[in-house]
Symmetry: C2
Subunit: 474 residues, 2 copies
């Protein structure tokens, strides 16, 4: 018998191996040095391996940890301040976004990361301007980070409608230099648990030299590019004013996209544009809840998948989603696509679960390492407690109902254990590497200051939320 670190066993397991869900009953996973050695019936695994510890998940189902492909946790300090409004960025987010400091953002990020881990996310695809503290916190709590830092040459944060962004090439180069510095500091940390990507904000936000430099730097360093793609009328107006064409056409012309890209949203893509992007081999991330709240739209993830592309799920940002919970996004992507097609058969539960796990892993270029429970992969997994009203009763015959209930009924607290690289990082809601109470206290200190700094601009803009405040509707 081989001596190994851990055996984890449960009455039900979804490995996500193959094209379906890879269901097994009375199953166990053998784990050593952070990787899965074997997956199989409890008796076989226990006969072959002698573990240091055995984790008995007696009324649970095991499955791969969830992949959140696109988040802006640094906006979490502004949770709930920017929904129910047209022109979300300018009429909703802007006054608060201008007011928040990096210290405040970092405190918000920590809470968002805790929220995500508590609901089963093991890989966090986080993206913003200054990601050093986020990398440090993800390193500390033991989660997997897939981190991009914003690169852009657009000089100002906000422009008036119709105004062409002014590019500052020095500022652009500096932002790229900071992305490279982040890469050097954090990429490959702890055996690759943190991976740093390059983060051009969007084709509209930067000059063509800088856009190409992002791709070249990523390629040279063996990492990927994470970019917002054809998101909304604002981007399209910029691209048409500057280049006389839409973003997808512009990027096709220069053969910019390839299999090293993670493209996000595609909000304003026609189906032929979606197919063109899918054919490049890029992976897509869709953020259903966020785009429903901030734009009232459903992004074309199904068209992307039908064209052969891999698409994962993202929670985006808390001012305009307003939460970081992949179970919620599984339900959203399924229900939104059903109602957009008036067809209850599209986007069934199993397809949503694949998006949250193996397909999401492939979309971000980690399909060989995570997203399924198979020998050789990293041991990133979660155990979902079935002893909750939301998951009961459990049927196994003639059909199993656990995945439909996970996708359509579970709320997040059912996730009882979370493991990354073979190490338990969350147990019964407690993120072991963090003091959640302390993180809660920390964010509570900031709203007064942010509010005071944002007040004048908030009322000057006079968006729907300012009106709602006056009308006792908030």
């Amino acid at each position: 018998m081989s001596r190994i670190d851990t055996i984890i066993k449960a009455p039900h397991m979804y490995t996500m191996a193959g094209d379906g869900l890879g269901y097994m009953d009375s199953a166990a996973v053998a784990i050593d040095s952070g990787r899965i050695l074997a997956v199989g019936p409890v008796a076989d695994i226990e006969a072959a391996y002698q573990p240091e510890q055995t984790l008995e998940m007696e009324h649970h189902l095991l499955l791969p940890g969830f992949v959140d492909g696109h988040m802006h946790t640094s906006c979490n300090i502004l949770r709930g301040l920017a929904q129910d409004t047209d022109n979300w960025m300018m009429n909703g987010l802007q006054p608060f976004d201008n007011a928040a400091t990096q210290e405040e953002r970092d405190a918000g990020s920590r809470l968002a990361i805790i929220e995500a881990i508590q609901a089963g996310t093991t890989t966090l695809g986080d993206y913003d301007h200054d990601m050093d503290a986020v990398c440090a916190f993800i390193a500390k709590v033991g989660a997997r980070g897939n981190i991009a830092q914003t690169v852009r040459s657009a000089k100002h944060q906000v422009y008036k409608p119709g105004e062409l962004y002014v590019f500052d090439t020095d500022q652009g180069e500096q932002s790229l230099a900071r992305n490279i510095a982040l890469y050097k500091k954090w990429h490959g940390h702890d055996g690759g648990r943190i991976r740093v990507l390059f983060g051009p904000q969007g084709a509209d936000f930067m000059d063509t030299t800088l856009l190409q430099r992002c791709k070249d730097e990523a390629k040279k360093r063996g990492t990927r590019v994470h970019i917002h793609l054809q998101q909304g009328s604002r981007e399209l107006a910029q691209m048409e004013m500057r280049y006389g064409m839409r973003t997808v056409a512009f990027l096709e012309q220069t053969h910019y996209l390839d299999e090293n890209f993670i493209v996000v949203h595609l909000t304003s893509c026609e189906e032929d544009e979606v197919r063109a992007v899918a054919k490049t081999g890029a992976g897509m991330v869709v953020c259903p809840g966020s785009i429903a709240i901030i734009d009232g739209l459903v992004c074309p993830s199904m068209a992307f998948q039908q064209a052969g592309g891999a698409c994962g799920l993202g929670s985006d940002q808390a001012p305009g989603n307003n939460c970081h919970n992949i179970i919620n996004e599984m339900k959203n992507v399924a229900l939104f696509n059903k109602i957009m097609r008036a067809d209850p058969e599209v986007m069934p539960a199993w397809a949503a679960l694949r998006m949250a796990t193996i397909e999401g892993a492939r979309a971000i270029g980690l399909g060989g390492e995570i997203g399924s429970l198979e020998a050789g992969k990293k041991a990133d997994l979660i155990a979902v407690d079935l002893n909750y009203p939301s998951m009961q009763p459990v049927f196994t015959h003639p059909m199993r109902n656990m995945v439909p209930n996970l996708v359509y009924s579970a709320r997040g607290r059912e996730v009882a254990l979370s493991m990354v690289d073979g190490r338990v990082i969350m147990r019964d809601g407690v993120v072991l590497g963090a003091d959640a109470a302390d993180c809660l206290r920390a964010v509570a200190a900031y709203p007064d200051g942010i509010g005071a700094r944002a007040e004048k601009e908030f009322f000057a803009i006079n968006g729907t939320n300012a009106q709602y405040m006056r009308n006792d509707q908030l």
Copy 2:
């Protein structure tokens, strides 16, 4: 100082008085003999009343308990067995619905009621064939019940597409007699905490005499009628075959609907039909999650409201929703209407919260008794703990973000206390009048039997879920 039962106080309160949300800070509610005596600043309330007990909710917001206007908790024993399929009733639910016994259904109901209460529901609008045990359990746990029992003369549970339902008038009269017996046994229980309605299943399911008898019996007894209305092509086909017109036109002709009706779904109504129904004074209940899953549709609640009608929210049934959680339905109704209109400003958070509270209370004819925290109303309220990542940070200036975060971010476990008629019925997730662990154990005993009885029909129908079982997609 008057001696009273209870003062409950919190840093934030939404009374739902007036047309907005009725926000107050540092507020308290004075409660005696199950009713609210006064609502106001903590100092004023404490100066005027001397309570037996003071409930200090130090980091919470108080608001009226949620009203779930339409549930079929007796289907909860079949949670997760009937989604992702066309023709939900015949291809999904039927084999399991035929197999479940009343004992099994009652066990499932108990768990659904616990699930709903844990997430802040205080009024349960439950509806099914045999509601005695549900009334007993709701009476025991101390919640408010708004209970309808099915009345129908359609002889069989299931018909083939295109087949006209056969009416059995004796069976119809017997079902009405059982509804009357339920009324006599439970209506008015505990000072009116349980209210029994009349439950004609739908205009297609019964002869015109029985339909009228339901209305007359309800009127005579001072209660209401709860009816599914123009739900789907199956109902429309029956009405057109039998009467040569659609349900709404048929009911208009006989002036059937009035302000004593609770009408549910209106799935297949055109806008002029919705307006016609709203004008009768009937209240509507919409079940967003259920109808998205079982039909891929969004019901016309906004058109009903625009025509002046009151519309509440319902969780419907667990095989095809798959959960009983009004916070989930608030998010669903807001997001679904935004994406159906491609407009992020429609159905803001405050409007969804009104549907879950005061508007929902009005829709079921209890607007004078519950749904807001105002002097004279019954003391049905909840306290939401703000010390969760989903609710943090809390901004109060220049805008409050608590309601947007409750609607778009909270998951249910944030509800820390629930009170009905001035009595605490749930605290920190524990439903005080029930043994949740025992209820969980009870439902776990039934799936093997139900599955064995359903198996043959399940595979004979060969719906999508049978295919998914064969393909390792469940």
